[in-house]
Symmetry: C2
Amino acid sequence: MRGAHALLHTLVDGGVDVCFANPGTSEMHFVAALDGVPTMRPVLTLFEGVATGAADGYGRMTGRPASVLLHLGPGLGNGLANLHNARRAGTPVVTVVGDHSTAHKVHDAPLDSDIDSVAGTVSRWVRRSATAADVGPDTAAAVAAALGPPAGIATLILPADASWDDGAAPATVESEPGLAAGRGALDADALEAAAKALTGGERCVLLIGGDGATADGARAAARIAAATGATLLAETFPARSERGGGLPAVARLSYVATTAHRQLEGAAHVVLAGARSPVAFFGYPGRSGDLLPEGADVVTVAPKYGPAATALAALADLVAPGTEAPAGPHGRPELPTGELTGASASAVIGALLPDGAIVVDEANTSGVGLGQATAGGPRHDWLTLPGGAIGYGLPAAAGAAVACPDRPVWCLAADGASMYTISALWTHAREGLDVTTVVYNNAAYAVLRAELAQVGAEFTGDGSGAVARRLLDLDDPTLDFVRIAEGMGVPARRARTAEELADALRAAAAEPGPHLVEAVVPPVVR
Amino acid sequence: MRGAHALLHTLVDGGVDVCFANPGTSEMHFVAALDGVPTMRPVLTLFEGVATGAADGYGRMTGRPASVLLHLGPGLGNGLANLHNARRAGTPVVTVVGDHSTAHKVHDAPLDSDIDSVAGTVSRWVRRSATAADVGPDTAAAVAAALGPPAGIATLILPADASWDDGAAPATVESEPGLAAGRGALDADALEAAAKALTGGERCVLLIGGDGATADGARAAARIAAATGATLLAETFPARSERGGGLPAVARLSYVATTAHRQLEGAAHVVLAGARSPVAFFGYPGRSGDLLPEGADVVTVAPKYGPAATALAALADLVAPGTEAPAGPHGRPELPTGELTGASASAVIGALLPDGAIVVDEANTSGVGLGQATAGGPRHDWLTLPGGAIGYGLPAAAGAAVACPDRPVWCLAADGASMYTISALWTHAREGLDVTTVVYNNAAYAVLRAELAQVGAEFTGDGSGAVARRLLDLDDPTLDFVRIAEGMGVPARRARTAEELADALRAAAAEPGPHLVEAVVPPVVR
């Protein structure tokens, strides 16, 4: 058996049955082998960043890795930003990077580069298969490494000859190919210390992340907060939160450092479950990036990427044995009318969000009030951007839709961010994915306007900052996302009023397959 | 003075007065400082791969580095593939990667990653400025490193505090900020050995690359070939060739390894001027990737990225003192009629190519006969893809147009390749660049169809290869580049016949600013 066949069989037998691919010559044996393994679903993307972002969305929704097929070092480079995001999300991913054949490596051919060094910056596990015979065992080890615990990115570098040579055989994955998250041993001492802190009468913050933001985790956390009076917060950008349908609403630590400071102020203890000690997204002149209140102590009942939900359940048993989870909010916003703004768009989305939806949130500054507008709606999942590298939304939506074909996916994407990986729309169309994308067109990198003010930069020259501001504007020309989407095979319309947005979302919901709505909104920051 | 100001002044004083940028928070002081340094031209791109590809095109046309401003590790990742191409082209580029402030690095904030390791894979020179006081000298060293010789990529990693702190001053670049290419000492022994080989009566191949493909290099090489009977070839993908206007036509070593073998067959000596010993682009089962004929010896008069044009001139003085450069071809193809094919599109392009054009060639399989169709036309430059990472065309065209505002740029791009960095069209529009893009829409990764046959992969399953082929097709849905271009502010039309392509190119030439023509062609490989 050729190495490429062993690779495919090992993946599928190990529960990895989706491959987001952007292949090249060095991956042709993998491509050819797909016909013999119909249980593997290949999904073509037009850019590697779409493939890696899709694997992130898929892995977050299933807890199982998808495989990603990349073409040499440049393909890995193109996929790197969304692998960074997957790394920060703790998503299991098996990355397969094709390389030149072993004999060809000595020639330093045009596409040759140092794949191993680049892969090492995002992967928990990197291996280069030496021969076809190694491919089966190496693939099995890659799947096991991706599953963890903790889950993460495993990168297998596959020389073309290891792929095309005979002498390979599939291998068995030495790991439970089930849900990757939430596994790992609990720390009894930490649970006791947390219980003591929470019941000691001083102000406590319970900060949850990872699978602590799932339904079970959120319920347990809400019980703890109700019983002890602790302030319950989720990390700023959770990989996946289960929300709505009566689940407790969990506020998130603000991205804005000054607001986050206020949320944490006065806490004597911070209990962490699947989250890290809070830090600012960026450093600013003269301000500390450490958001931990001075003198506060930290108790970690589950580390980042650890078993947060089970730790929260155990902690709730200790401090809230008789306390029920408080009922979450119920009720949707009224459908607003009139000119569209970020806030009124949020109300429309809250009013119409379908039951069981998966929301991929890359709305950035335009997503004003989205959390509140949707908390009382039907049960749904909410994905955000733990790694901060924009361009994850449209790809992750593709992956979530492949993972959960029976659920509607709503992708809320800022204009600037969506342009990074806009070709994901073609994959939405190719695969007939039930993704409704709302692109907020405010014709600006509005978040950077805010950051420009934050960092205390002053303008020289005529003092107007006109040159600088032009680097943060997306007008001149204004992007027309309706045409762009139609050009990639996704039906699209534009909404300038709340009514038009509501109509467009209803029309999208009435028809299977992908849709795009360009929501024209004013920028939040002028 | 703040570090950001010292950076800008040092760049501009050192002759680096264009910055292709995709900034983020950590680069806001750089952005703010732009207002005080109006001699620096900032060019906004919507994706980092556009910025790096533009810097490649700019550097190839000017011999001077542009600067590229990237946002942390993910921004560098997004720009990596086109930096790979620039590295292989030997293009001078100064890459500035903003990083978290030094104090913030300890927090491992969401966007933190190992920038240094990734940068090292594409850069000749990498440095991380420790303080604001270092920024001036470090920037000057970066510019000098980019200029070489040999020219290449210099990457300066700039912590936000080094950028925002005071105490910096501009520094002077210790290098001639002139043409980077073509400098370096000649090797007299190698020249003598080459002369001996060329005049010894055995079959010789003279393989040129780098600045050997400029007008002076090509003329000298053609004199050598005329006087000695040597076979003159250019490397497969020269970074920049000067062609037309009576310059000698230089055939290129074929990308197809079997054809390249035939071109080199029987050579006893291969003389290299700015090229490396010939190797295949990819390795294939059972075939050597080394294209050097068995027993042939190699004489290198100028190494890859070395002073090829001056070496060729010196060699011509030795072996062809009385020989004039033979006249190159003259005359354009007739304008063809009827349904468009890759070949007839090439004839249309050859018939209409404007005097002084810069052609950015990423036509891939659709560019059938382009070289021949244009060799006898007016004087022009031709850029190809030495690094092989597709997605360079539209960005490099932007950079070439910024470098040479008075020259028309024709960007010939394959459909699959153009989708990698399609947002470059927005930059064409934003900057009003005189770029006419022809996208060949054959609805396939046609080159991969050929490669699938080359690698000897066989299909299992039902043997039809239907699953594999679907990964190489770009239909279902077919991309509509007219809408995509219009959505990004570039006027566009579609051509299905040779007449329509000619009309569209004439209309584009009659109006300043960017245009796109979608050329619908059948795939060369079915």
